[in-house]
Amino acid sequence: MSRKQSVRIGAGAGTSDDRMTPALELAERGEIDYLVFECLAERTVARENQSRTKDANKGYSPSLHERAQMVLPTCIKKGIRIVSNMGAANPVGGAKAMRMEAKNLGLGDVPIAVVLGDDVSEIVRTMPQLTLMENGEPLESILPTFASANAYLGADLVAKALDTGAPIVLTGRVADPSLFVGPMMHEFGWSYDDYAKLAQGTAAGHLLECTASVTGGCFGWPGVKDVPDLANNGYPFADVTPDGKIVLGKTPGTGGRLDVMTCTEQLIYEMHDPKAYITPDCVLDITGISLTETGKDRVEVKGAVARPRTDTYKVVVGYTAGYIGEGEVSYGGIDAVARARWAAEIVKERLKRRGFTYEDFRVDLIGMSSLHGEPNGRPEPYEVRLRMAGRTTDKKAAHAVGFEVRAMHMHGPGGAGGACEPRVRDVLAVKSVLLPRHLVKTQLVVEGSL
């Protein structure tokens, strides 16, 4: 099998809610070989597991349809292969939906390789003694409201799926950087024990996994960190060679910026110990990395190293945790803060008299203390928006929070305005456990004919 001397892997989504058109621009003008859509936040799979329970055909990322309609014609025409975790809690269902989209677009029978096995619900249910990483308590403590359990699978499975030749690979839970390392392993035949190359690939994947966050998004600051044409910022790609050389770039003709500053911010993003960034593929050490600008919007990444991967998979366990109720109302002008504080006390008193209790309760003065708490000495703003929120297992109690805040229009301090409707949402929480790898049975299936 002949191998390419360089492969270009683009990032098309960094979250399910990511912007759409930059991915199409990257496919059209980026000269990419692969387009990776990373669409699963920590609790997304748990949420989609609930969708699948209600409708066995659902449970994949709802954004799959719009993304497929947008990029499939270009990707199929140009031979750009798609890798995505949009399969979420139902990768086979997602593959069927995407094949239907391709058919409807007149693209014919498009086979899709599907990675299965991340759903470890049945396994962990039988292991209540597993320790929750967040608080040290046994898994048993959250099993009564258990919703899902998914292991973060690695790049080896993505590579095997690509080895089938299918133009599209869909997965459920796969670690974000692994979605990018998979194509590199597939293209260059990297061994899963070649940690020098896995390190470089993982560093590249981590830099790409949040799309625009490495091209000037989540970065700009007027006068200090200016970003040209941020409204039109483009998505990034990595040029990778068989020896693990990595050079990042972004779609030509787009706004934004890609340089050492943007790359450094993204490299450290969501990292704890920089010598031990644990993925399913390796334990990455970024402390020796050097970033070099090799041209405009081009950055070379050198010096990533890694230790061997751990013998466990991290598993995200989803569970329901009651409801959050919230409400908001505004105060402006003279003594705005004093009236808002008084209103908060009245609402709390009324909730108490109605017999409602909350596991957690919060009062925010938006415009003053809602983001960074309330240290002494912060000046009072002209206007504030009072926000109150409570978490409880009682849906009525959750609704009462917003109900009583809204009542401040007629039953509170003077001059309240603009209360919102009471809001109630159900809480889908997550915690993590480590599961020995050998217990996880993965599987590869192909939907359609190759």
């Binding site: 450290i268 704890h272 402390t287 957690d360 925010d364 960074h372």
Partner: protein, 110 residues
């Protein structure tokens, strides 16, 4: 004259569960030693005392002229159950940037 972290560095916040990680990246690497001396775990813990329970752990990344501060129990119990508006704490880097340190001396400022 004091120096703010903002004068010397840029920053981004990330999250995992109830833990926030905040990078501090020097504009000019010559200020890295100054920040190493003055932007200690204790100084950061004090600045976040009304937000997070801690502890704070500082990791040095000299090669990237950066530090990574990992602040435990910082996100209202965790992203998925937090009652905060900014459940991920994405805006917390601005608390870091506002921390005031002794004067670095104008000749070293960026």
């Amino acid at each position: 004259m004091s120096t703010r972290v903002y004068d010397l560095a840029h920053s981004r916040t990330g999250d995992k569960g109830n833990t926030s990680n905040i990078s501090v990246i020097c504009y000019d690497e010559k200020n890295w030693d100054f920040l190493k001396e003055h932007l200690t775990e204790a100084v950061v813990m004090k600045a976040f005392a009304h937000i997070a329970q801690g502890p704070v752990k500082r990791y040095e990344i000299r090669n990237l002229k950066a530090f990574n501060f990992v602040i435990e129990r910082a996100l209202g119990g965790g992203v998925t159950i937090s009652l905060a508006q900014d459940i991920h704490g994405k805006s917390l880097c601005n608390v870091m940037l506002a921390i005031e340190l002794p004067s670095v001396g104008n000749e070293q400022k960026q």
